[in-house]
Amino acid sequence: MSPKRIRLLIWKEFTQLRRDPLLIRLLLLMPVLQLILFGYVVAVDVRNLSTAVVDLDHSSTSRALESAFSGSGYFTITQHVASEDDLRPLLDRGTVKVALVIPEGTEARLTRGETAPIGIIVDGSDSQISAVGSGYASQIVAQFNTQRRDDLGIQVAAPSVDARVRVMFNPTLDPVNTMIPGLIAAIMMISLMVIMSQAVVKERESGTLEQMFVTPIKATEYLIGKLTPYAALATAQMLLVAAGGLFWFKVPFNGSIWVVLLGLFLFMFTCLGLGLLISLVSRTRHQAQQAVMFIMIPTMVLSGFIFPIASMPALIQPLTNLIPLTFALEVLRGAFVKGSDLAALAPQMLALVGFGVVIFGAAIVATRRRISE
């Protein structure tokens, strides 16, 4: 193994990258763009849902209920309409997402001691809004009932349950706090798979790969020289995302930096291996790009990066264990959000070692075979 040859190859890769200034700019733009999109769009905190009110009761109760909804911060009352029929066009156009219908005689029913139904309509064409909206609405109505009972001063001596609900690890419940740690792992995977596979296939397409192999360079040297620049590039992108997350989005970091680094280091082998494997099976860059998409989309969907694994059907959930990113996410989120230590994350780390050995090993063996052919 000659360090000089490796250095030359690395230098060659960087020179090639520099030739395409637009590409370099795009590579640096990509993490920033993803930081903005994932931080602001995917990790959006659902609140201030635009709400229409149909108050057919016109009583102090209905007004109190309305202000309980608007005062919660989850619902913003934007419209008052006269009848339920008027709701249809509003929801059809998407101007409101939630509607509160207080039927006539609500207050009268309550004073008679009966149970008075009120209608809450949520727009089911948006599943996040319908899930969150109906949960909040139930909570507000339950609190309203308790408040009303307290105001009436009935239960002075009645037994009751005083539930202290406490959120652990992420008390503000800001989704960005789990999104950014995930993005660090995701960006490494995207970067290594997309750019590296393209780079190797490009050499094959332009025929310079054969030229490379008639030189005295050895397979190991070729691999190290080829992998190092892209690993460095991906590291730069990850640092950019981590800095943006910590300083701009103010994501708290509760764990150990060594756990994070170890997790990323292990995961990097899987990503490098995938990039290499893709470049081996594809003859053209077009094919490589399709192969990347083919792997990327299931990874994004099933890893729990965007869509929670707990919400997936029981049949699908075991499949998520076949996706390496799943474990990288658990390590990063565990360390960032929960402050988990190495002992708690040992199974995930072992899984990453396993994926690394299998995928990177297979890629190395396949590349060597190709080179020696």
């Binding site: 590409l23 795009l26 763009l33 769009v41 959006v44 659902v46 609140r47 929801l91 059809d92 998407g94 997402k97 029913r109 001691g113 149970t115 008075a116 139904p117 009120i118 209608g119 309509i121 949520v122 727009d123 089911g124 064409s125 599943s127 996040q128 319908s130 899930a131 109906s134 609405a137 139930s138 909570q139 109505v141 339950a142 009932n145 009935i154 239960q155 037994p159 009751s160 349950v161 539930a163 202290r164 609900v165 959120v167 690890f169 992420n170 419940l173 789990t178 053209t284 077009h286 790009q289 399709q290 998409m293 989309i297 969907v301 869509f307 929670p308 707990a310 919400s311 059907p313 565990g334």
Partner: protein, 381 residues
Amino acid sequence: MRQALIRIGAIVRKEFRHLGRDPRMLLAVVITPVIQLLLFAYAISFDVDHVATIVIDFDKSPASQRYLQQYEGSPFFQVVAHGSSLADVDDAFDHNTARVAIVIPSGFARTLASDAAAQVSVLIDGSEPNAAKISQAYSVALNQLYGQQLTRDWADAQGLDLSSFGLLQPQIRTWYNPERRSSDFLIPGLMVVIIAIVTVQQTAVTLVRERDLGTQEQLEVSPMRRIELMVGKLLPWTLIAFLDVALITGLGRTLFNVPLRGDFWALAVGAALFVFASLGMGLLISAIAPTMDTANIMALLIAFLPSFLLSGFAFALDQIPAFLQWISYAFPARYMVTISRGVFLKGAGFAELWPEMVSLVVYALVMLAISSVLYGRRSRA
């Protein structure tokens, strides 16, 4: 005119032959959408129910059992474990085996029997914020309801008349998708994402490839006019995009029973306009990008990310910061998601959706105009 048609036909045949030579490519543009559809429709959901819950009952009394039955009976919580100490909570949260923990301290029954407020702790793992938020809301509601039930029982036992003690009962109705099936919600939007990927990326790349391989010059010295070349290049991808639309609609209707409540023709016209707008975008990228790598990454940035994240396909657009909402208007996917979801779920037609259609027409025209100007400049240079 006839000559022009023959020349366009020749290019179309050439493009299809390229595709035929590369069966993996063909597989990618036809099979990948189907796999994506199955994956998204089966796997994605924001619905939170059966949240894994661990219960620690230090009181072990009939009263605490009754309280816990509220959780057992709720479709929202699923009691997966009974712990014996608080360390079990840490353990369950660390290993992600439970997301909610209910802790009943000893003396629960005694406090209730003395007509006082008994304390209970509900601990929620906040590392999955969406699920945590909904768990929080439901546990508050459940405890309030149980408190009211206790009060009623107490009043009955005391022989008190609680005539003024009525209750409001929320009746939640989910319009357009009463069973809250996530496939109903996702498939109409998914169609848009898939078409955007196929059309923008493929057109951008096929045109740049020609330049990369140097065959662009050969085509330019042929009697072919530029417009004919464009039409011939784009026609195959238009056909494939339509095939994908039909495939997704068909699978959605038959396999997933997604309702098609509105005007089918509105959907067809909308899809056609969206395909043209996306092709325009692909043309624009191919006019700007010097190499295939750049075209690839630009297509990923311009086609995939915005149509995935800024279209409203899975993430509510009215919740995002205003500057991103403005940006989302600059990409055609948002209009098409509105059209698609309107037709599939809301039973809409041309009358409701014409503003989106007009936007798409304008969008497609602007894109085509800009890219033909850029192409003109490039070939003169």
